[in-house]
């Protein structure tokens, strides 16, 4: 650890770690499949993508069992543990299986609890709950070749959330019947949110970028002078290529 010397008298805060027992989850084949999927979500290495695909294939293969486990496990999550809850919704959405529809529908139609944060600009529980639901909407969008999925997306349009409606509009328009549904979507949206029909789903390369962000540095920041992060092992030659010493002609 660097900087052992900068130990001025502490005016800082202290953080304690309570003893916590991990909740015991009943073992089951479905639980194993879900645990494997979560592990694959964070996999590294050359075969990580293959492992993720394999774990996802297994979820789909046993979708009827797995969705019950997802619903059970999700309901036992701490309500404020948004990353873990999101992983459950992501798993259900990525299954792209009709068995997931009731779980996803139930989440979308569950009213978002009132804001818990005194400063939602810094952190918004409503924002986090919304992300869970937009992910669920897109999961239903993957099933939009089914009439019940289309109807669920129209139910999502009735939710009082701009982002949920935006996700539902995008999913409906992207479905095979999208063009035919446009008028019905317009009718379902309030006047001030008709613009959602005209939002462009684009690549990041097609939106305005920041030209010369250096001009956005403070005076102190402009002085710079701090070296970049060290090269990853094996990359040293490439990362120094721009300033390589000249090579002698043979």
């Amino acid at each position: 650890m660097a900087n052992e010397s900068n130990s001025a008298p502490s005016a800082s805060d202290a953080l304690h770690r309570p003893e916590r027992k991990r909740p015991h989850a009943p073992e089951s084949p479905a639980r194993t499949l879900l645990t494997n999927f979560f592990a694959a979500m964070s996999g590294a290495g050359d075969d990580a993508e293959d492992q993720y695909r394999r774990a996802l294939t297994n979820l789909r293969k046993y979708a009827d069992l797995v969705i019950v486990e997802i619903a059970r496990s999700h309901s036992e999550c701490n309500a404020g543990d948004y990353p873990t809850r999101w992983a459950h919704v992501h798993a259900a959405s990525e299954m792209r299986h009709p068995a997931a529809l009731p779980f996803l529908r139930n989440l979308i139609l569950t009213p978002i609890p009132p804001e818990e944060s005194p400063d939602p600009h810094s952190f918004s529980s409503v924002g986090e709950e919304t992300i869970l639901r937009t992910t669920a909407v897109e999961g239903i969008g993957h099933l939009a070749n089914r009439a019940d999925a289309i109807e669920t997306l129209f139910e999502a349009l009735r939710q009082p959330s701009l982002s949920i409606r935006r996700a539902a509009v995008q999913s409906l328009l992207a479905s095979a019947r999208g063009r035919k549904l446009r008028a019905r979507i317009a009718k379902a949206l309030p006047e001030e949110q008709q613009f959602l029909l005209d939002l462009k789903a684009v690549s990041v390369r097609d939106v305005p970028q920041i030209k010369n962000p250096e001009r956005h540095l403070s005076q102190a920041g402009r002085r710079g002078g701090i070296a970049p992060a060290p090269s990853l092992p094996g990359d040293e030659a490439q990362s120094q290529a721009g300033n390589q010493a000249p090579r002698r002609k043979e």
Binding site: M1, A2, N3, E4, N6, S7, A8, S10, S12, D13, A14, L15, H16, R17, P18, M41, S42, A44, Y52, N78, G80, D81, P83, T84, W86, H90, P118, H121, S122, S125, G127, T130, I131, T134, L162, S163, F195, D198, L199, K200, A201, V202, S203, V204, V207, Q209, I210, N212, E214, H216, L217, S218, A220, G221, I226, A227, P228, A229, Q238, S239
Partner: protein
Amino acid sequence: MATCTVPTIPDKTVTGDSLYGPRACWQAFIDWAWYAHGFQKTYWDDGFGYEDCCNTDLPLARTFGAMWLLNYSADDYWNEEWSNNCLHWARRYVRDQINDLRSLCGDGTNIAWAGSGRVELYLGCFYKKDCAGRAETLLHESRHLGGKPHDANFPAGSVFGEGKSGADSTWGYEGAWMYGALYLWWFYADGRRTTTALRQAARQRANLVIDNAFATHPGFTIA
């Protein structure tokens, strides 16, 4: 001085801490990150991780993990020219801008604060955001240090509080929300050495910002 408690720790495979934590537990990187961002021992000890800097239960290792993501997610990460895209230069902007980085309790949900040349990170940043979300926070706060405050109120229906201050007027204002959303978007579109799931989570978060953090909706969404 406040005293606080480590809250429920989200599944680390989901937040990316089990992926990025071991990568960042690399002494050359730790030495560099500590110096480059102006960490001070006094703000990272007393349980925040100084004494156990690779323990991803604690704020310091969770910050190092986010910094690893910020620094190595472009394919050719060493190409950090300002003329390149945000995935490349964000790391440079953050390290040029932040020279005093502190960890504090906050109120349990607060994420971060920037001012007077420093950035403070709170428990909400360490335990309610995934690694990409924490990297976005570093960039968002760096933009504030660059002299760009929020200039508008949140629009009708915004999850961040309709009518409250803290929004950016437009995408073209090039404020902290735009910086954060653009970074997440690039991370989703072209992030390397990461996972499909983390990129998908970044996409969802970026769309939330695009929908809710600008007084005038930018008029696009992430494909």
